[in-house]
Symmetry: C2
Subunit: 690 residues, 2 copies
């Protein structure tokens, strides 16, 4: 039967060259123009173009550094090196990422445009650099750069003393590649319980580094393939006494950069969900001796065989050691927002060009961006990206000023957790909105998703970071009532927690007119009310659980649900507050009115996300809640008319987009076809020798 | 300075063999036993073991077919062929998946254990087969098997007539590989607007197949690399008249299975987020002639140059053609639930073995499964997996009985959309709960996530499927009020929509005692109330929008938010209802009491997810809502004590788990180490020639 069908197959045309494959057809150019609502008239378009420039400038206030951005764009415009090739194997990707790292180390750091010492001198330069690097491909490069310069490099800078700082020029230029060996097979979050030991030998004035158990194996260590030296977190044992975890410099490879030194075992942890350009490995130590001077001794030193530390309390000392992680957290918040923007640009441009269904079954079709289901998903994400920009600018400024480091630390932790979670969940939905074309590697979504996902885990597990935020809030709460006052971003809590004893004003809880709901005052009041109420309830919950258990560890754990809720609520409060402050300060009318709408959508959207709280606390009556739902829909519909302008305002570099679905110019389908390969190769077949 | 550090490095031990890497240490075996609450006493353990067997049997009622399962397990126990190797390239994966397909085609289909004709004769055999296949690796095999046997094969079987059915034995044995060329570059969801043409030539009694535009290129076609024949969806043009889309058999490759026939162009669409073992390709046709008998002519035929169809209405005719997609949708619901189970087994077993933090900073640590944040995430997912099992058994039975195909179609569409969305979102969170170890490819999460994600897109985009559900509900609603009555799974709507005119009973909306909230009656009432209320509101919304626009396309689109909500609510109502029915019928006390708790958690959990509706419709007062939140927490905590038993009750085959984090036996860390590679290879280095 098969043969019969086949033999009855008749040819009309002669054999066609496969290279002609995409020459057929007229494709997208023949399609309908977009509804005028989306493609405004040319005159408006000109003024919109300048709006996008203004929005871009707004979003990078304080970390512009155009010279750094320009130089990076120049370096990264070499597409023979800077391209996201989905067909490279793991090892090839790692070599490519290393080359990229060296290009930036030499082109940016060696030329003095950015320095590791800018961690203290001018952090905004680091933020500007990362703002470009994080737009590229899957963040393997960004991660490797952070690991080498801002984890390993920062360990030397922040935990070391003058004698170690001499290494910094070598590190940042890529001539000395290092890794940051903290995490172990058995310990990730609970780093204070790491098992690797560094035992002091008074006879030789050396430390002996050991991996006592299999679970003590250093694990996930980035740069472990290429590093010749490692910053190793290990328990400092002296005179039989465990002085807890400190950081040591341990050479691991010979000068050829490949062969291991004696006593060192290093292996590959293998493929990962994403970031396969990063050479993550495991490391074990067997009686590896290092001179005592290799202890990074800012917070604890050994002189003449005696241990001493400027900080008495071991837990406070360790907190100081860990505080350096803040740079990683901040760059994750910044980089992840860029990834969210990349995903949004792709989905929005695709949705404006992709037509599907129309009023009749055979007639013209409409862009999928016209469907409310699409708008309700995309537009709150665009608003969120702008909200994150506002808080990024604020965080960047605080990071630069370095006043009240504890407060910045808490804020950076909360933002890293919230932004990475939001972005991961959002990108999964954006992939879905792009259908099959979103599933192809050419769309870039797979890489974007796998990249941001790990942002929820590394540099501090999100659940843990949110607990740090909650812990700080409760500590400040206690202080408030013992006379000290809330300061900085916590100030609003003092005002509200005392007010909360009085009941809700029934007129306010029922007011549902647009003017009220769209006012910044309502958004602020809602946010502040929620955080304050949750703070009081959290304190009560922990205290009640403690009374029952007489065990502070158990009491805290039993209260985790409300504590995490509190941390999220507070972080969102700070985002909304800083977004509003930024808008109120903005002088350009067009920028201000655009951002105002985005802020209204963002605020109402996050209130709606937590109706469970707002309705059950009686803050919103039924009618008011329904009015909010309606307004969210209206704002999404209205803002979607300008969606293309809004995503262009993100200011991503077009040459780093690397997705045919997300290019500003060109025929969507031609862009896709250009990226897709030709014939199946012979390697796809069982009898490939044919 | 580097050299100084390095030269001061002293050796004590001699060079260590890298193969000894994992011989150090005592690892996990030295760790603490789990709290007794989780590892019940040995006596209980025995009875629990039998509970897991009983739960497994409960979940596969009606599609047991142990002979099929056993034979598949035997075939798939050949680990030289059936292994999920993360290091294979795209082409190698495709060859491997083809070999796996052929092993099953020959071992199962050729031996008559399952047949394509079982689509009508005994669908439960297909479900039993897929229940094993879907546990393996990343679903490339499952997808390729569905494409060849149940999309291409089903097209021949369902759309063809006797003369085509002779191909079935060739197809199912893998001797004739085929593809299902429906989707085009420019059309996915709106398949009625496909552009490929099949023009009838009366002179030769042939059809001429053409790709008129670039956007008409067939795209994402699975098996396009290996198929020698394709079922092509194209517009049937006869006498200059477009008779809309029909399906045609078009030979595409020469008998060597590699070289293309004249007029055919095929290429590779390249790497994808997941399912890289499937050879998805693009296909173009240029004046390809096929005999008129190659039209699959069950719903439309050409005899003597004249077109005729048993179904007059083109839209109804096309609906009949598309109805065959149901098998794909059902297998996605079944397969995706298995993927959810795989993810849950991995996360639960990992969380029971992974210890992190404890009451003191230096003392013993506790399993992360003890943290409420963990329990609140995992336990509702476990309950959902059991709920999905209940509805799977029901759907399988209805699929087998084939009464009221339209109702089954709607149910299958809703379930595919809900289960694939829930599973995708859940797996992302489970990855997060496994931290860094979840991010390694060895955990399997990357593959699981990328696999289920596309389940939201293929075989019908979820948003579109939910619209089909809503459309059917509104159609039945109209009928109800014109005299016809709701039937089958819709029956409850008739009861409620009339009751809704009367107000809520204030005593019920406020009742918040455990007995009431945990009763099946409360869960059912809540579900039915929501669907009924949303149905009335949907009808009102569409009607109001129609009055304003006088345009049914616009009116429908403007109502999308509530329509999608309605479809989800109805699908969840059916799930809860069938779960409860199954529990009430269950005779084994232990199984019944276990499932009852899971059903309570599932029901209260989905009510909580939609507090926006339940609170704003006044169905739940504040106090009642708060009581539900508390109960959800309690149930999660209580059920987590038996989490290991519950996931074992899923009945996944241990030999198909393929994740060191998720094995029932063995030391967690030893399992991981066994899977992870050794040294970095020379390919990781710039100067790899060294």
């Amino acid at each position: 039967m098969v043969l019969k069908i086949m033999s009855s197959f008749k040819m009309e045309s002669s054999e066609i060259n496969a290279n002609d494959a995409f020459k057929i057809g007229k494709g997208y150019n023949e399609m309908l123009p977009f509804p005028t609502a989306i493609n405004e008239n040319p005159k408006d378009q000109t003024s919109k173009l300048s709006l996008t420039e203004k929005l871009k400038n707004w979003s990078i206030q304080g970390f512009e550094h155009h010279n750094i951005r320009d130089e990076l764009n120049r370096i990264m415009s070499d597409k023979s090196l800077f391209h996201g090739d989905v067909n490279l194997g793991k090892e090839e990707q790692r070599v490519q990422t290393l080359k990229q790292l060296l290009a930036i180390a030499q082109g940016i750091f060696d030329k003095g445009l950015v320095q590791i010492t800018d961690l203290r001198e001018d952090p905004s330069k680091i933020l500007a650099m990362m703002d470009i690097v994080s737009q590229f491909d899957d963040d393997s490069l960004m991660t490797k750069l952070i690991v080498n310069n801002f984890l390993f490099g920062a360990a030397v800078f922040n935990l070391g003393t003058e004698r170690h700082h001499k290494l910094l020029p070598e590190i940042q230029s890529g001539r000395l590649l290092g890794c940051f060996a903290m995490t172990e097979l058995g310990h990730g979050s609970n780093v204070r319980s790491l098992e690797t030991t560094a035992t002091y030998d008074p006879k030789t004035n050396e430390f002996i580094i050991n991996t006592p158990l299999r679970t003590s194996t250093k694990w996930w260590i980035g740069n472990a393939g290429h590093a010749t030296i490692s910053s190793v977190f290990a328990r400092l044992i002296i005179d039989g006494k465990d002085q807890e975890v400190h950081c040591f410099l341990v050479p691991i490879r010979k000068s050829n950069g490949i062969d291991l030194l004696p006593g060192i075992r290093i292996g590959d942890v293998g493929a990962k969900f994403g970031l396969n350009g990063v050479d993550n490995g495991w490391i074990q130590f067997e009686n590896v001796r290092i001179p005592a001077t290799n202890l990074l001794d800012r917070f604890g030193s050994v002189e003449g065989g005696v241990y001493s530390s400027p900080i008495k309390s071991p837990s406070r000392r360790f907190a100081n050691i860990l505080a350096q992680m803040i740079t990683g957290r901040i760059t994750i918040s910044f980089g992840t927002t860029r990834t969210l923007k990349s995903g949004l640009i792709i989905a929005t441009r695709y949705a404006s060009k992709r037509l599907q269904f129309g009023p009749t079954s055979t007639g013209p079709e409409i862009p999928i961006l016209s469907y409310p289901t699409h708008q309700l998903t995309i537009m709150p994400m665009i608003a969120s990206a702008y909200a994150f920009d506002a808080i990024k600018v604020y965080l960047g400024r605080r990071f630069q000023e370095r006043t009240d480091e504890a407060e910045i630390h808490v804020l950076a932790s909360g933002l890293k957790a919230m932004i990475s979670q939001y972005t991961t969940v959002s990108l999964m939905e954006l992939r879905r909105l792009c259908g099959g074309h979103g599933y192809g590697s050419y769309s870039r979504y797979g890489r974007l998703i796998a990249t941001v996902d790990v942002g929820r885990t590394f540099e501090g597990d999100n659940t843990l970071l949110l607990q740090q935020v909650a812990k700080d809030l409760l500590t400040q709460f206690k202080k408030e009532y013992s006379g000290n006052k809330f300061t900085g971003t916590l100030k609003y809590l003092g005002k509200n927690t005392s007010l909360l004893i009085s009941g809700m004003n029934p007129l306010t809880t029922m007011r549902s007119d647009d003017a009220h709901l769209l006012s910044f005052q309502f958004l602020l009041d809602s946010m502040e009310f929620r955080s304050s109420k949750l703070l009081i309830q959290s304190a009560q919950t922990v205290s009640k659980n403690y009374k029952q258990t007489k065990d502070s560890f158990a009491a805290w754990n039993q209260s985790l649900e409300i504590l995490i809720h509190l941390a999220k609520a507070h972080t969102e409060t700070v985002i909304v507050t800083k977004f509003i402050e930024s808008i109120n300060k903005e002088k350009d009318i067009e920028v201000r009115s655009t951002l105002k709408k985005l802020c209204q959508l963002y605020g109402l959207y996050i209130i709606r996300q937590d109706f469970e709280f707002f309705r059950n606390s009686n803050y919103l009556k039924k009618g008011k809640a329904k009015a909010i739902i309606k307004l969210v829909g209206q704002l999404c519909s209205e803002l979607s008319q300008n969606a293309l302008v809004l995503v262009k305002g993100f200011g991503n570099e077009e040459h780093l987009m690397e997705s045919p679905l997300g290019m500003e110019d060109g025929d969507l389908y031609e862009n896709i076809c250009k990226q897709v390969g030709g014939n199946f190769t012979r390697n796809n077949y069982l009898n490939s020798k044919l």
